[in-house]
Structures are given as structure tokens and as C-alpha cells.
């Protein structure tokens, strides 16, 4: 067991737990975007920053990737942490304002506007879909490509991947592609996620070992009836 001070509370947790897990266990909320249970921690979105250490030596670290250490002092909602988080949310909003997930986090943190140049990207490079594909679906069909400005997620050579089983897991976990799930006409704003998955469902016969992550949707079964 490791003893640490979390928001002034002296607690002991099992060795190897991350700060995020410990804080959530104790009931301190930490917003996350690129974190998902069952997938390896990645530390891409930086939303889960917490302050570790005391006084001038205090550092901001991502709680999802930091493992608890004996005697450490953690603050999950200090002024510095909140300020940093708000800035991160603003940056995320500047990249991808249409995402419902990001909007929700923004309103939770009290961010009402963002001060940066507005862009409308459909990806925030959180890597959830890449990890989902690799770690849960055992496919490794998509991955990061390129570098810097040109970094993107997709299949090699932008071709349909042979190892992709069209499970839809990547779409399921994506926090940014909410817009894609609004049927064919955005203004109608119905979810219609299953409608968007029509092409995979149509090709289902080709993929006998297909695992579908949109399981409650059963659109394909209704269609085949």
C-alpha cells in the first residue's frame, strides 16, 4: 500500500494505481477525454492534469499516466489546475467546437467562450480509436500517420484495411465525431448513428468474425428481417 495526501486527505491505495484512479475512488471528480477503462492510459488530452508536490516545486502532471508514489501530495482542483484545465478546454473547443463531449466538459468547467482562432477539425488526436482498435478489437487497422501539422489518423495508404472488421468501435469511442452521427442532414440533429453505419452493416456477410460495438443498435438485424 502507498500512502499519499490527496486534497489534504491522507489515504493509502494499492501500489500501481494511477492518481486518476485513486482520486475517482475517493470521489474527487477529474474530467477526462482520452481516458477509457480497458484502454491503456495515453495522456493526450491533458484534461486530467493535477498538481503534484508542494510550494514552488509543485508540478502539473497528467493523472491518468502518473502512478501514485509514497508520500506525494496531490491537489486535483487547485486554482492552478483549474486555470490550466480551462485553457485546455478552450484549445479543444478551438479545434473541434462541434463535439458534444467537449461542449459538456466546457460547460461543466464553466468555460463559456474560447479566445482562439476557430477551426473545425473532426479529430483532436486523442488516440482513443487507435487504442480501441488495437487493444480491444485486436485489429490494428488504424493508426497515427505523419507528424506535426500533418498528423492524422487512418489506415495505411488511405485504403480499406484488410484487418478491419468494420466493428465501428472507433466511431463508438470517438469524442469528436459527434457531427458525423447526425444522420445525413446536420440541421435535423437526430443521432442516427446506426444510419451512418449502414455501409459496414451491408457488408456484414463478408465479415463473418465481425464484432459490432454498436450492439444495442441492432439496425442490421432489423434491416435483414
Amino acid at each position: 500500500m502507498v500512502n499519499l495526501k490527496l486534497n489534504g486527505l491522507i489515504i493509502s491505495v494499492e501500489e500501481g494505481t494511477t492518481i486518476l484512479e485513486a482520486a475517482r475512488f475517493m470521489g474527487f471528480p477529474i474530467p477526462t477525454l482520452c481516458h477509457m477503462e480497458g484502454l491503456s492510459p495515453y495522456g493526450a488530452c491533458r484534461l486530467c492534469v493535477v498538481e503534484v508536490g508542494e510550494g514552488t516545486k509543485a508540478k502539473l502532471v497528467t493523472s491518468c499516466t502518473s502512478v501514485v508514489q509514497e508520500g506525494m501530495t496531490v491537489r486535483t482542483a487547485s486554482a492552478r489546475v483549474v486555470k490550466a484545465r480551462k485553457m485546455i478546454v478552450e484549445l479543444l473547443l478551438a479545434t473541434c467546437p462541434q463535439s458534444k463531449v467537449i461542449q459538456d466538459i466546457a460547460s461543466e468547467l464553466g468555460v463559456r467562450q474560447q479566445r482562439f482562432r476557430q477551426e473545425y477539425e473532426d479529430c483532436i488526436m486523442c488516440g482513443l480509436c487507435v487504442r480501441m482498435c488495437e487493444e480491444q478489437m485486436m485489429a490494428k487497422a488504424i493508426g497515427f500517420r505523419g507528424r506535426g501539422d500533418h498528423r492524422s489518423i487512418g489506415t495505411p495508404f488511405d485504403m480499406k484495411s484488410e484487418v478491419c472488421r468494420l466493428c465501428g468501435g472507433c466511431i463508438y469511442v470517438c469524442p469528436a465525431c459527434q457531427l458525423r452521427c447526425t444522420y445525413t442532414e446536420p440541421e435535423k440533429a437526430i443521432c442516427g448513428g446506426c444510419m451512418n453505419l449502414t455501409p459496414p452493416c451491408l457488408e456484414k456477410e463478408k465479415f463473418e468474425d465481425m464484432m459490432c460495438y454498436m450492439e444495442p443498435c441492432v439496425a442490421c438485424e432489423i434491416k435483414n428481417r
Partner: protein
Amino acid sequence: MATLNTTPDTEKIKAREGIISILEDIQARFGYLPEKELRNVAEHTGQSLVDIYGVATFYKSFSLKPRGKHLVSVCLGTACHVRGGPNVKKEFEHSLNIRAGDTTKDKEFTLETVACLGACALGPIVVADGHYFSKVTSPKVKQIINKTREGLDKVEIQTDQRIFPVEISCARCNHSLMDPDHLVDYHPSIRVTISFERKHGWLRLSSLYGSYNIESEYEIPENTVVNFFCPHCHTELRGAANCVECGSPMVPMIVKGGGVIQICSKRGCKGHMLDLSGGIYG
């Protein structure tokens, strides 16, 4: 796939390091990374194609498009930029009639921009086939293109400052190998005996350090590894070291005034080492 997931991260990283050198070899052979080869690498290393594609697209030295025979990189780092790098780039684009990042239709030139080459004081820098050109201005661009087209590896013996004559003796019997009666590059040549493919004859090397000119009794085919012998004591001139370029055995010889020069025994390989401090086997 399931086994890949359970391998520790360090091994994953190791496997990735291996991929870089594999891709480098492919790039060296084809000049770019063909899709077919990437799929081959994926198959043989057991890594997924996505990882390999990710590595291939991450590093700027890898190209997925066929490249030209000559690679010209124009530096547009901060220092070169303020010293007029963009004008040089524009001039290259105009002269070659391509945009930066593209290859000419005759597959002769590929033009690239780079962010910094670490020689900021000499900017704007242009690198053509590994040769650095400093303080490049737009009027010099044509000249660089022409020189590159002719081949930059040709050495100009008369004018090149880097070239100087050396006096060589045998590493075993210390007998001088210089032959004042037979001139190569207008300087006394270095005479050794060679044998390859059952042929046995004399070879005269240029004594100019930096010149690769030779004269030989027999024509030596490219990539032949040749055995070198001292014409006086008849021992084979063979050291412990192997060429860093091609792995063939190096031939050690003593330089007058102290020091050892080692040349690669493979015809066509320019691997050599000049060590003015240590011994042959040190």
C-alpha cells in the same frame, strides 16, 4: 496479434527501432518506400502495417513517393530564412520547374526544404547529394544544378584544397611503397601487388589523399574484394578492422611522419580511415 498485446513495452520499442533500419535499407535500395515493400516488412517482422506506415510517414527522410536521382535540400530554417533562403527556394523551383517536395518529370531532381542543417552562420545552405553549398544566392542556383547533374563525387585534383599527397610504406616491413617512376595524378604512385579471381598483378594507387584514381594491370570489376600484398616482403596487407561502409576487410598502410591509413579492399567502395595517432592493431 494476441501475443503482441502481452509483450512488454520495451520490446515493442526495440522492434520499432529495428523497423527504422529496415526502412532505411529499403529507402537506400529503391530511393523511396514502395507500398509492396512496406507490406513485406509488416509480414516479416510480425508488426502491423499501421505501425510501419506510421514510422514511414513520421520521419522526413523516408519518402513514399519515388524520388529523383539527385536530392536537393534547401534550408529554410530561421537563419537561412532571413538570409534569403526563400528566394533560393523560388529560384530552384523556377529552374527545375517543380514545387518543393516534388520530383522532376525526368526523375533527375527532387527538391526539398529542410528546417535547419546546423550551419546557420553559412546560410542560406543548400545540400545537393550530401554536398553542402554555403551562402547560396539566386544566381548560384543554376551552377549548383549543373554541377549536381554532372555528379558531385567527381574530385577536382588540381583545385580541391582537401587533397594532399601522402607517402606510404608497408605496415609489415616498413619498406616504402612509393613509386616515383610511375605517376598517378601527377604524383608518385603507391605500388602494391594485388590478387583477385586467380589474377595476380600490380596496382598503383594515387598518393593524393582524397583521390580515388588507380591504375591496374588487370581491370578490376566493381564490388570485387581484392587481396593486397607488399611488393617487397610479399605479406598480405590485412588489418583487423572492417570497412564501416561495406564491411569488407580494410588494408592498413603506414603514413610517413606517423600514422596509419586504412583503405577498403572492395573496388568501388570509398571507405577509408586516416589515423595519425594510433597503431595498426590498436
